[in-house]
């Protein structure tokens, strides 16, 4: 009897997860298309581009990857850059550990793999606001699998589409445009993010002639230091007021 009752609630969690990310897919699909197109343009093969979407499975870092590869960046610099961009997943994982930490390893591996910005956003909301349930991890499974399938199919479509677009269209310029739309919400809202962006961007330009594209790491670090500094000042001001 217990088993029979379990099934519907597992399914319910799974489908709630699927449903929660459905509106987000409108943003994921063009991103995947752009990545597929850019992968080919940067000189990667179709297979490399396609499999990167399942091996890395993190959009912004994949787009950065193809940009760096097309600039002839050293592999180690590319790897470090991808690592830095994806550091935030560590935060997501830590936040979810409270709700997923008790699961056996055979669950933790696929669930960890499915953690993305979007899956995290919907899952943490469900974990905090939703009913407590021993099957709540099915929610992450549902949202994660939906995002994964969408990412793979849109990458593949981008690869197929990319083969038909001539080079004169300058599609490489979609990379900074994608990045711009990713950072804009925070940069407009928070002074600290705006200063962080300005500092990182300016030093990227200043350091641009340094060997082996080391400027990517240096300028990012300066951006982070600036953010930390501004953050500290803001905290001190808040303390003084209260």
């Amino acid at each position: 009897m217990v088993l029979n009752q379990d099934k519907p609630s597992k399914r319910l969690e799974f489908y709630s997860g699927v449903k929660s990310v459905s509106p987000i897919l409108i943003g994921v699909i063009p991103f995947g298309l752009v990545f597929g197109i850019l992968g080919l343009e940067s000189g990667l093969t179709s297979l490399q581009t396609f499999l990167m979407s399942s091996i890395i499975f993190a959009g912004a870092s994949q787009v950065a990857f193809v940009q760096l590869v097309s600039n002839g960046t050293l592999p180690i610099i590319t790897i470090i850059s991808v690592g830095i961009i994806n550091l935030r997943h560590f935060l997501y994982s830590a936040a979810l550990s409270k709700y997923l930490g008790h699961l056996p390893i055979k669950w933790k591996i696929p669930l960890a793999y499915l953690i993305t910005d979007e899956a995290f956003a919907v899952t943490i909301k469900r974990m905090i606001n939703g009913k407590e349930s021993i099957f709540s991890h099915y929610y992450l499974l549902g949202s994660g699998i939906t995002l994964w399938l969408t990412w793979q199919t849109s990458t593949l479509s981008g690869i197929l589409l990319g083969k038909t677009i001539p080079e004169e269209f300058n599609l490489g310029f979609t990379i900074p445009l994608v990045f711009l739309s990713l950072i804009a919400p925070n940069v407009i809202k928070y002074k600290s993010h705006a200063l962080c962006a300005l500092a990182a961007g300016s030093f990227a330009v200043i350091f641009h002639s340094l060997p082996s594209n080391i400027w990517i790491i240096l300028a990012s670090l300066i951006g982070l230091l600036t953010a930390a500094f501004v953050n500290k000042i803001e905290l001190n001001i808040q303390k003084k007021i209260s």
Binding site: I56, A64, F65, I79, V82, G83, S93, S97, L180, A197
Partner: protein
């Protein structure tokens, strides 16, 4: 070499996702680290945006008569107004194409 770079990048990304979940107890990240990590995408992506927009094909900085600056500024304006990735990309590309037509 590309394959190795992809695989190592993927492994690092997976470890970052897995590391904290792996601990059974509630993982606590120090507050200062959590604060800093929030800025990582802004810092790295700005690093990649600025040179891409400000440098020309011969890899020197070009601030005057650079169509990419106007294209990126229009895209920024549109992304503020619409918060829509597709419309942002289309606007930026259209402005770039129009300005580089001759």
């Amino acid at each position: 070499m590309i394959w190795l770079t992809i695989v190592v990048s993927g492994l690092i990304t997976f470890v970052l996702r897995f590391f904290a979940i792996f601990q059974v107890k509630n993982s606590n990240i120090p507050q200062w680290l959590e604060n800093i990590l929030k800025y990582v995408p802004t810092a790295v992506l700005s690093t990649l945006i600025f040179p891409e927009v400000l440098f020309n094909d011969s890899n020197s900085i070009q601030l005057i008569e650079n169509p990419k600056i106007l294209a990126a500024s229009s895209a920024l304006l549109v992304t503020i107004l619409t918060k829509n990735v597709i419309i942002t990309i289309i606007t930026g590309m259209l402005v770039l194409w129009i300005l580089t037509l001759n």
